[in-house]
Symmetry: C2
Subunit: 368 residues, 2 copies
């Protein structure tokens, strides 16, 4: 009988550095990243925010959609989109990053979506604060977890499940979680969770459940697949591991000059050039500094404070580009003193790789 990925124990292929399987390429074709040249923009254009969807995008008629607040609530709720849109409206600029961003650089590589640098984006999310709505449903005293369940359903390592994640009452009190129905001034797109999702600012993207159908209050800890098995830092894939939460400090360079179509290496003419990019950290912690490695020296970049503490910081630095091949590197440090590592650290599933961004630039003394 043919082996089935729908049964537990179906093997994930071994990987080799720099060599990729058809399944990895299919995931890369399906999931999409930001275009690094748009790092000059404060807000990522619609359609260029990164997308990582485990299962199929559900196409939901918002007129029929209901959000259930059920389980251990004393005043459970069923809300239509009309009910939800009538709640107090807020807009917040938030940078989201996939916990698997940078997976390709981790060795040995986990056989999953092979992100390099591009699984990040910043949007203006429109919605309503979640905490008051939870209060309105009157969670019982002994609630330990609120479970957020999406309409997306499928299999992972033989486990059939709707994508679901949870947050504890303490986390709800600490984090400014939003219930979201709009993005960049327009209705949420299907691929970003229409008609309703949550945004958990400062955490990696897996917490920001899309296509939200229910919020269930539990008087025990949630043990759903994506909470208990997925999204843990692990040195060995068979250990319990540490849950993934806050985004780690990171920065990217907008690649200067012009590209070669296939290699994506960069070309520019010698002379003064303004380098720019973005830096961010998790939990609302500000960026303290960005350094760029230029001609053997770390140069301090100028920073522009973001409009929101959950949005990325713009950086720029002047460079006198001289002929030859250069390998630019940028490195951010946040206000808690966390700095990006120069080399990727191992993680069994390639999570949380916040090592430095490197860009190869060919500088010529004559125009193209």
């Amino acid at each position: 009988m043919e082996a089935s990925p729908f049964q537990p124990g179906y093997p994930r292929p071994e990987t080799r550095d720099g060599v990729f399987s058809r399944e990895e390429v299919a995931l890369a074709n399906r999931n999409s990243g930001i275009l690094l040249e748009t790092l000059s923009l404060d807000v990522t254009p619609v359609g260029l925010h990164y997308l990582l969807n485990h299962f199929d995008v559900p196409l939901i008629d918002e007129n029929d959609h209901r959000l259930l607040l059920d389980g251990a609530f004393d005043a459970p709720l069923t809300l239509s989109m009309q009910d939800i849109r009538a709640l107090p409206q807020v807009t917040e600029r938030v940078t989201l990053e996939c916990a698997g961003n940078g997976r390709e650089g981790v060795s040995p590589r986990s056989h999953l979506m092979p992100w390099m640098y591009e699984a990040v984006g910043t949007s203006e999310w429109m919605g309503t604060p979640l905490a008051p709505l939870l209060e309105r449903a009157r969670p019982r005293e002994h609630v330990q977890d609120f479970v957020f369940t999406g309409a997306d359903f499928g299999f992972d390592k033989g486990h059939a499940h709707s994508f679901a994640r949870s947050l504890t009452p303490d986390q709800i009190a600490d984090l400014e979680v939003m219930l979201v129905w709009g993005m960049n001034g327009q209705p949420l797109l299907p691929q970003h969770g229409a008609p309703l999702r949550i945004i958990v600012p400062g955490w990696y993207g897996m917490a920001s459940v899309k296509w939200l159908t229910s919020i269930t209050a539990l008087t025990e800890r949630f043990d759903g697949y994506q909470q208990k098995h997925g999204y843990h830092y692990r040195q060995r894939s068979d250990e319990a591991g540490t849950p993934i939460t806050r985004i780690l400090v990171k920065s990217l360079i907008k690649p200067p000059g012009v590209p070669d179509w296939v290699t994506r290496k960069r070309w520019l003419v010698a002379g003064p050039v303004t380098l720019e990019g973005r830096a961010w950290s998790g939990g609302g912690v500000p960026i303290e500094s960005v350094e760029v490695f230029l001609d053997g020296v770390w140069q301090e970049a100028d920073l522009t404070r973001p409009k929101s503490r959950y949005a990325w910081t713009h950086w720029q630095v002047e460079w006198a580009a001289t002929p030859g091949v250069h390998h630019l590197i940028c490195r951010a440090t946040d206000a808690e003193g966390n700095t990006q590592p120069m080399q990727s650290r191992f993680d069994a599933a390639g999570f949380g790789n916040n090592s430095v961004h490197r860009v190869e630039v060919h500088v010529s003394d004559i125009p193209a």
Copy 2:
């Protein structure tokens, strides 16, 4: 000295079937395809239309943008976006496909963007017919080509160029080329060519030049890189080849059931299931039939005529799914009698692969 992709002769790596390089994965991360589950929709949602951009996306301030009609015109023009938006407005639903769609299935594979099936999309393009504007600029009698030049600039095989393509006066007379500034009821997005592009309905996407800055009338044939070297069908990469023009007949299945996250294989419960998908051909030629291979027999699908002759056709067929592993196949035939081949045909750069779509489905007799 380090080899440079910015010099002619820089080698493209050899490929091996089913094994991919880091550069190919970087291209797959950068360029994005449609999500096949949205094939149920007549119009591809904003942000899910395929994107194939050779160089960086230029970020253009539309207030400063000008379109030049220059070269062998008796009445050359310089138009602002305000001038262009004042022209007669039309909206047309057009299916576009990348000429490299299906490249991954061609053996041996060309080391370029490794598209599988997803480089297609259908949008409502808003703009104005191009032909009257060209007439207004009064092309001289001996004009042989109109050259459409974009603002995107970079290198390909060591050749520095702005992306540019041409159409002959006969092609302009035959094709309903549009000058476009909107998409799905909103302004064109940067990644789709904002503020101005052309759409050449019925042709592969390379003809639909984005970020249009000029239309130059030439009294000789255009020999630009993307016209003379790129986008040719070739058996050997050193031959002149045949220019790529019209889209070849093709069809896709919306994968039924639910996916496994990593393998993207499909799972569903035995019983009646409605299969659906899309079929299209080039040059405005209608789809004549779609057949779906089910349990050893080709079943004729029901077709719904599209609203525009340049848009894809919806098909559907009923299937009584029985337990076991099934390999679904769909095959379209157009009104000129062209049918999709069962196997991929060789092309040196992997262009025009319109072989049949295959989907592996695991049918279970018990629910998940």
